[in-house]
């Protein structure tokens, strides 16, 4: 292997080197160096360690090939939002001035084949920003190359469709790199296996957003054809030679330890084996059906200790109010808190004081978690999985095994979306597969069954909020106070490792511990948008996860981020309370919001949704509102949100049959202003999906649990939205290229639904329903009260 020459060319802080001349092909490969270390040091280190990224080759951001094709690599895993296959290509194509179609391959997630790590969230905010900057460096390097090749001053050159021209000469990128192995080393900072991965640093010149021609167009997702024609290799399709099928017999409760593992019936399951590690009981067999049968037999015969350390769902909110420890964890204040709320409330012409409640919800992927692990005799471990943070998983598996991350490789495949659950590295089955593979010396495929997935995965945490609002005679809010209470929600620990008693990072504690970013601190996650309100006090109170400290397994009810983590829990009470205040003030709920803000983008979104939804401008409740009777009453509700630089406004129209307690959403309209729209078609589809998940949260979703564990175990006990519930959906996309940035966060569509629906319920019935979900029994109790 050739070594990099010492005399690289400086490109705005990046370094361009020629490694060698080659007879065929040729490429420009864009690698990285951690800030403060030389290219040579980095390369030497990579060469010495067999599995870590070779920054000169496998771990590159892009490869520009002699045939003018370009390969993109990203550590971030696309979960169906299509970002990596559409938006990322568009961002790179735009910055490099090449056609979208030139990007022929996207390598995603594999820890030995991608550069930057990071979680599957903030795709545009973090991953997109990295790619944009990396591409900007590359563009400058290509211009430099062209300048010396064509002998034309760089300032005279321009690029269109991957062809550089100037001074009467022209050359394609492919021809520029032909016959050479070039390497561009760009500066980065960060920790590869941390939640955020690496960040590209420096300030290369970037294309002005006003010149964009590729960003803003609707390109289709290149992966869709393979997914609809059964050509995609899903994680469920991974088969390794000599592989065994595994099932795990999870403990009887979330705090039970193993007393004795059951004895295998060798007559019925002649080829099965049982593996016990700590309290982890695994069953493997050459065929999946034998593994399933044997696991059921073992489960029936295995003895566990008893544990009852949870309040049970019926007591959840009482327990959160009266028993949870909200005092130990430092209180968070929003940066928008200002003024003096107490006197302002005292002198307000009217006030509202109310409490809101959200249940535990499950990520509930359509397929239960599955992984294949291959622990080899040389100490290396390969994990084939579907995970939102492969590098973090790699770090955790290395920690569990007490080995170096160089010995761990994670490979990523398509799989069922799970909406944030594994963005700290733990989807569920990976560590269990590793433990079984290591014990047996053979590759093992662990597939969780449906109850495993609902009962042993993390969940979105519950929350309560106390909101007080005061306003004056003109309907101007003079004071807003919000006290938000929510248990910790970023528990990244590997659950199989916990059950087996193997090392994991610490559980969320009052401040982040070494090796963990999770803490019990409940930050303010819902940006305040009503800038005219003079007195604002938003506080976040956090606590430990339910039952976690008391559980002998340190498990209890572990929580994890889901879609709009924390923000859903804070936006729902805020927006419903503001709709209630508008009703008490006798002012139309959209008009009431418009009076509290000068933010042009928020105002634009509110007006757009008002127009598109057929909103009736009038105070709530509806003139025909009723809290009893067998005929449907209808209502309208509004909610707004600012998330990741994107403004949202949502209107839902619902009908309620008071006597039966049924709530139906008839129409969902949403206006979104992300600044620059990257891909309108994909944005629309992602929003529609989010909208329907939001309906599901509003109408159906609530994890049930008793004192020992989760009692939601299948789609009957954890129902979600079905086709019958689909309303008319209207998506209004407001393109504002002059903003000069593309906002992210399209998952916000789910969070907006719950408060808009609850606002519409208030409008239809004149009664506020301050707890999710709006199931019949709860609705009836609200209406009778």
């Amino acid at each position: 292997m050739a070594t990099a020459t010492r005399h690289g060319r400086d490109v705005y802080g990046a370094t361009l080197t020629r490694r060698q001349f080659v007879k065929t092909g040729g490429a420009l490969i864009v690698g990285f160096s951690l800030a403060g270390r030389s290219v040579l040091e980095q390369a030497a280190e990579a060469a010495a360690s067999k599995n870590s990224l070779d920054p000169t080759l496998a771990g590159s951001w892009f490869e520009i090939h002699a045939d003018n094709t370009i390969l993109i690599r990203t550590g971030r895993v696309d979960f169906g939002q299509t970002t990596a296959h559409t938006a990322y290509k568009q961002i790179v194509a735009e910055e490099l001035n090449v056609p979208f179609e030139a990007m022929t391959a996207v390598v995603m997630g594999d820890t030995d084949r991608t550069p930057d790590g990071g979680f599957s969230a903030g795709y545009l905010e973090y991953g997109g920003a990295n790619l944009r900057k990396a591409a900007a460096y590359t563009y400058q390097a290509l211009l430099d190359l062209a300048s010396s090749t064509l002998r034309v001053d760089k300032s005279q050159l321009s690029v269109k469709d991957g062809v550089v021209s100037g001074g009467g000469k022209r050359i394609s990128y492919g021809d520029l790199v032909r016959g050479q192995q070039l390497k561009l080393t760009i500066p980065v900072t960060g920790d590869l296996t941390s939640m955020f991965g690496l960040t590209v640093t420096g300030t290369p010149p970037m294309k002005p957003t006003s010149e964009y021609t590729i960003i803003g167009k609707s390109f289709p997702n290149a992966v869709t054809p393979s997914k609809v024609s059964a050509k995609e290799v899903w994680v469920t399709d991974v088969r390794l030679p000599n592989m065994l099928h595994g099932r795990v017999v999870h403990p009887k409760t979330l705090g039970s330890t193993l007393v004795s593992a059951g004895e295998l019936n060798k007559t019925r399951y002649p080829n099965a084996q049982v593996v016990v590690k700590g309290s982890l009981v695994g069953v493997v067999a050459p065929t999946e059906w034998e593994a399933i049968g044997a696991a059921q037999q073992i489960a029936a015969d295995t003895k566990w200790t008893e544990w009852q350390g949870l309040p049970g769902d019926a007591q959840l909110y009482t327990w959160l109010r009266e028993q949870a420890d909200w005092k130990t964890t430092p209180v968070s204040k929003s940066d928008k808190s200002r003024g003096e709320v107490a006197p302002a409330l005292a002198s307000a012409s009217k006030t509202l004081s109310a409490s809101y409640e959200l249940p535990f919800m499950k990520h509930a992927p359509m397929g239960p978690t599955i992984a294949v692990a291959d622990a080899r005799t040389d100490g290396t471990v390969y994990i084939h999985t579907h995970n939102q943070n492969p590098q973090a998983l790699r770090g955790q598996i290395a920690m569990m095994l007490g080995t170096s991350i160089d010995n761990v490789v994670v490979r990523i495949y398509a799989g069922p979306g799970h909406y944030g659950r594994s963005n700290g590295g733990n989807a569920g089955a990976e560590d269990e597969a590793v433990i079984l593979s290591k014990a047996l010396g053979r590759p093992v495929r662990v597939q969780w069954m449906r109850p495993d997935d609902l009962q042993w995965s993390t969940q979105s945490p519950p929350a309560i909020a106390n909101i007080r609002i005061g306003w004056d005679a003109d309907g101007k809010i003079t004071a807003y106070q919000a006290d938000h209470y929510m248990p910790a929600m970023q528990d990244d620990r590997l659950v199989g490792a916990l059950i087996a008693g193997l090392p994991t990072p610490p559980p969320p504690d009052i401040r982040p511990q070494a090796g963990s970013i999770g803490s019990t601190v409940n930050g303010i996650s819902d940006p305040w948008v009503y800038d005219l309100v003079p007195n604002v006090a938003e506080s976040g109170y956090g606590t430990f996860q339910l039952g976690q400290k008391a559980s002998p397994l340190s498990i209890g009810l572990r929580d994890h981020s889901m879609r709009t983590p924390g923000q859903l829990q804070q936006n729902y009470p805020r927006e419903l309370a503001i709709s209630e205040a508008a009703a008490l003030a006798g002012i139309d709920a959209i008009e009431f919001r418009l009076r509290q803000t000068t933010d042009e983008r928020l105002i634009g979104a509110l007006k757009a949704v008002r127009e598109a939804s057929g909103w009736q401008t009038r105070p709530s409740p509806h003139p025909k509102a009723a809290a009893s009777g067998g005929t449907p009453v209808s209502g309208q509700g509004i909610s707004v949100m600012l998330r990741s630089g994107t403004y949202w406004a949502c209107v839902c129209q619902v009908s309620v049959v008071p006597d039966t307690g049924t709530v139906k959403v008839d129409k969902y309209t949403i206006a979104v202003d992300p600044g620059i729209v990257v891909n309108p078609l994909q944005l629309k589809r992602t929003i529609e999906g989010g909208a329907l998940m939001g309906l599901s949260h509003a109408l159906y979703e609530e994890m049930t649990f008793d004192q020992s564990g989760v009692t939601s175990r299948d789609w009957r006990s954890y129902p979600i939205l079905t086709m019958n519930d689909v309303p008319e959906i209207k998506v209004v996309i407001l393109n504002h290229p002059e903003i000069g940035a593309y906002g992210g966060g399209s998952e916000a569509a789910n969070a907006l639904a719950v408060s808009a629906i609850a606002g519409a319920f208030l409008d239809a019935t004149s009664k506020p329903a301050r707890r999710l979900p709006l199931k019949a029994a709860y609705v009836q109790s609200v209406l009778k009260a």
Partner: protein
């Protein structure tokens, strides 16, 4: 363990499996087909759906012995099935995609895509019986069978668009 003969996507296959093995595991593990997915194993979601003699069935709970001698069609078999229905000579049939699959691409239906096998199987069954369904009929179809067909990513409204598009493509004989 007796051999069981079944017809999958037009080909006779012999498998060695206990007769009570759910068809899903035979399709995935023995025949290495990747269309049907394991979603619940409880006949509650539709991720594992296949057509058995043209009717949508949940392969996760269907013992393989029960399909002996029957015609099983998986997602992989939809293009050939369509070509057969059109009675097209092989040279004229587009072997790549069934119109339902084409419509799923045109409308960019999948988010994660994990449920879409069952959704396309259900759409195919529906369009065979009702070539131009109303929205209400489409919704009914996805609510019918052993359970409603579930999509966690909320692609239902894209599915409604795609079924209508597939209906148009099929009417054109494409």
């Amino acid at each position: 363990m007796a051999g069981i003969t079944l017809t999958v996507n037009g080909t006779r296959r012999e498998v060695q499996a206990p007769g009570d093995t759910p068809l899903l595991y035979v399709l995935r593990n023995d025949l290495e087909l990747s269309g049907p997915q394991f979603g619940c194993g409880l006949s509650q979601c539709g991720a594992c759906s296949v057509l058995v003699d043209g009717k949508e069935a949940r392969s996760c709970v269907l013992p393989v012995s029960r399909v002996a001698g029957k015609e099983v069609t998986t997602l992989e078999g939809l293009p050939a099935r369509w070509a057969g229905q059109q009675a097209l000579p092989a040279s004229e049939a587009d072997p790549a995609l069934h119109p339902v699959q084409q419509a799923w691409i045109d409308e960019q239906v999948p988010q994660c895509g994990f449920c879409q096998n069952g959704m396309m199987i259900k759409a195919t069954e529906l369009l065979d019986e009702v070539p131009a369904p109303t929205v209400a009929q489409i919704k009914d179809a996805f609510m019918s069978g052993a359970s409603p067909h579930l999509c966690r990513c909320g692609s239902y409204s894209a599915i409604l668009d795609a079924v209508q598009r597939a209906s148009i493509l099929m009417a054109k004989g494409r």
